[in-house]
Structure formats: structure tokens, C-alpha cells
Symmetry: C2
Amino acid sequence: MKIGQLAKALDVSTDTLRYYEAHGLLAPSARTESGYRVYTEIHLQQMHFILRAKDVGFSLREIQELLHIQIDKHQHSCEEVKYITLQKRNLVQKKINELQRFERSLTFLADRCCGGKESADYCSILTALEEVDDIN
Amino acid sequence: MKIGQLAKALDVSTDTLRYYEAHGLLAPSARTESGYRVYTEIHLQQMHFILRAKDVGFSLREIQELLHIQIDKHQHSCEEVKYITLQKRNLVQKKINELQRFERSLTFLADRCCGGKESADYCSILTALEEVDDIN
DNA sequence: ATAAACCTTAGAGTAAACCCCAAGGTCAAG
DNA sequence: CTTGACCTTGGGGTTTACTCTAAGGTTTAT
């Protein structure tokens, strides 16, 4: 697979892929004789991982750390890897909790909202949020 | 409450608070005679909302949109508010799903990891991820 | 065989979200 | 009544994550 194909499959720009390569996130496994980057199915999967991670608020640096667990595996003991992994999981769980709180607020707001044509005087995320906060 | 106190309570800089004000995210309700910004408990809560939203990957623009549901409530019909709200909830639910996938990957990795002193040759987020992806 | 559509590197430009500094006004403590 | 910790505005600088341009080489389609 060439960079353009991978980019199209992921709906990102070729620039982004080169940027990720330059920043240690995704390196093509080989080059053609003429220097073109060659990617495989694995890179597609890895990019899906990266994009999902980005989407839920991880910075590229944090994503790199996650990937580093693999890349540096010979340098790290299993103990360290486990520690890092559990730490990251805590972070993920915290994010999930926050999002679930948002979800409850939004659900509350939607339920409370009549959905009709009249002015939304009594509709407000913040009001909903406060109420949810009170409930919790 | 003055800006410094609010900043300290939230562990952000006063610059950040002024930046948010300039960008329509959080305006103090009043000023002192000498021009100092005056905040209340409500602003503290609103900032908690903003910071949590930021933490789970919403941009300031997106957060503003969420808050706008309130600010513009007289301009919007309840129908519109409900539509926006449900759309945002979809987004939140998508993020939750993505994070739960991460959580499964990380759990899988941690479980698989012996946690001992030896090299982590067989520990890898990506390997774990692939396996989880296979399971799903 | 030549245009169109790719690819390369290197480097400059941009938007978001701060962060810092200067120059000066305000205010509580000693 | 002044020192030091606050506050004000305005503007410049930084980092992250792209995005674009220039100048040129490669591949595919007619």
C-alpha cells in the first residue's frame, strides 16, 4: 500500500502520515526502490488505534507512550509494562466516568426538553448538569 | 471571588480564565469598582464542566457550543435544543465506546503480562489490541 | 511520449490553547 | 505610608498538530 491509499482509507492527509512518521508514531515497514513508503494492513490497524486514541483526548505524545510499550519492550521489564498499562487504564477509566457524567447530563436535558416549537427558556445544559450533580 | 482565588481553586492560571472569557466560555458576572473580575460558586461549577469536557477531548469550540445551548436559549426552539443535545450525546456515547475498547485492550494486556522482572518480549498494547479486535 | 497523478524532502505557515511580560493601578499588612 | 501581593490591558511568544508550498523525481493512462 502506498501513502495515498493509506491516507484515503483513513481519511487523513498524506502530510499527516508523514508527520506521524517523523514523530515516531507510525513508520512504514519498507520503501520501494524509488523511495515510496510501503504500508501494510498492520499499519492501517495501528493508525485506527492512533486515531481512536486521539479522538478520546490523548495527545500524540501520550499515544506514542502507549505504542512505546511495544517498541521498547526489550528495554522494559514485564513489571514496568504492567505498571504503565494499569496506570493508563486508570486514566481511561477516569475519562469514561467523566463521559458518563456528560451522558447523564445530556440525557437529563433531552428528557426535560419538551422538543416543541416554543422557546427553549427552560432548556439548559448547565441547569441539567447542576441537577445531575445534585443527584450524584 | 477574585480571579486568583478561582484560578487556585481550579488549578489553572489566571491567564487561562481571561482567555476563556475572551473566547466566550466563562464571563464573570460583575466587576469591582476598580475593575477586578468577580466570580461566584456558579463560575466554579461551570469551569469544572469546561475542564471535564476538555479532558475528554472536546475542543473549546465544542464546549462553547454546549454552553451556547444555554446562552442562546431564547433564540432556539426547544426542538432545536433537543436535536443538538441528542447529537452531542451520540458523540459522547461514541467516545465512551472507544474508551471501553481501550480499557479492554489494556486489561487484556495487563492480565497477559506476568508482571515479573524478566523482559517484556511478549507484552504489547498492539498485540493485545489485535487480539481484542479479533474477539470483537 | 507526455500529461496527469502520484511520490520525495525541506521548510514555511496556520490554528488552537495557552503562557509570559511590560506598564501600571489596587489593596491589606506592618 | 509604603511594600508586596494582587489586579488590569495589551501584545508577543510557545507548543501541538497539522497544512501548504516549492522544486523536483516516478508511474500510469492515452
